[in-house]
Subunit: 197 residues, 2 copies
Amino acid sequence: MLDSIPSFARLVAELSKLPGIGKKTAARLVFHILRRPQAEAEALAAALAEIKRKVRFCSRCFSLTEQDPCPLCLDPARDDRLMCVVEQPQDLIAIERSRSFRGRYHVLHGALSPLDGIGPEDLRLAELLARLEGVVEVVIATNFSVEGEATALYLADQLKKQGLRVTRLAYGIPMGSDLEFVDEATVNRAVEGRREL
Amino acid sequence: MLDSIPSFARLVAELSKLPGIGKKTAARLVFHILRRPQAEAEALAAALAEIKRKVRFCSRCFSLTEQDPCPLCLDPARDDRLMCVVEQPQDLIAIERSRSFRGRYHVLHGALSPLDGIGPEDLRLAELLARLEGVVEVVIATNFSVEGEATALYLADQLKKQGLRVTRLAYGIPMGSDLEFVDEATVNRAVEGRREL
């Protein structure tokens, strides 16, 4: 039956590629879209077509941005002596939401994971080391997972060699969790209680 | 932070309009899309833009189709003496999947629900009554919910006046459930055990 509606089958197939969306959920979404006005489907299509064209990585901090360098890197009100290192752009967003950090950021785009074959050269580590002039303290805010902790230790080692103060977000964030999903108050407390590594 | 990436915020807002997708899930989907190749986002956008333009209701049975009349209405191998009445196109798909019915279909696009102000004139009822020539038996496959049952009784009343045999899918499908999500074997048994109303 659905074979005779190729555009239906195609949208189900495309939606099923998204994480957490199986064939049944995808079909439910398509029926919903078919019941809504044409303009709504077109707005979603336009937003999708637009995002990959407009959003890129900032050439300084490697966070997501529509202009390069990103507004955070250009903001003159931020403290150049403080640098916060995160795994992913969504971690940066979690910290910004907590309004507890007023320095600059650097996004590694991953964490060290020898088992998955991810070494220092697969992260934006060289780019971090190249932009530390004037920085006094590096706050390491990688995730509190095994990979995130290993990355923090590796980074601390590298950075201390350069005579930098290296801190880590305070425990208080449960082990094994992803920063992205932690509530703002907890992130805030963790930033304030950051400790020497 | 996200305010400075309007295309990101826009896609999150559009995705959040879909059923079962909140702001956090939407953000997770957007991060996924940003990690994937441009072609994948464009394929999804194209499928979305296409579906509302291509898919319409069949002018005979009111199911979803890309050609009018739909392939099911035009199929000469189907039995014109049997007519199955369902609430939604997805119910038709559930029955087709069970391969237990070889007649024609009619999609009401809803069920009677006085509390929600949905009366007979809000459904495709007049269109059903206008296409019963040559039909011997009407199989009522509305959902087994309060509204679906009320619609079945109302329909049976109308159709019997015209001297038609009226049957209902056999119980066996749990009360309160939606046909769309019932497994094929159960739907098959229910079609075979349909009873006189």
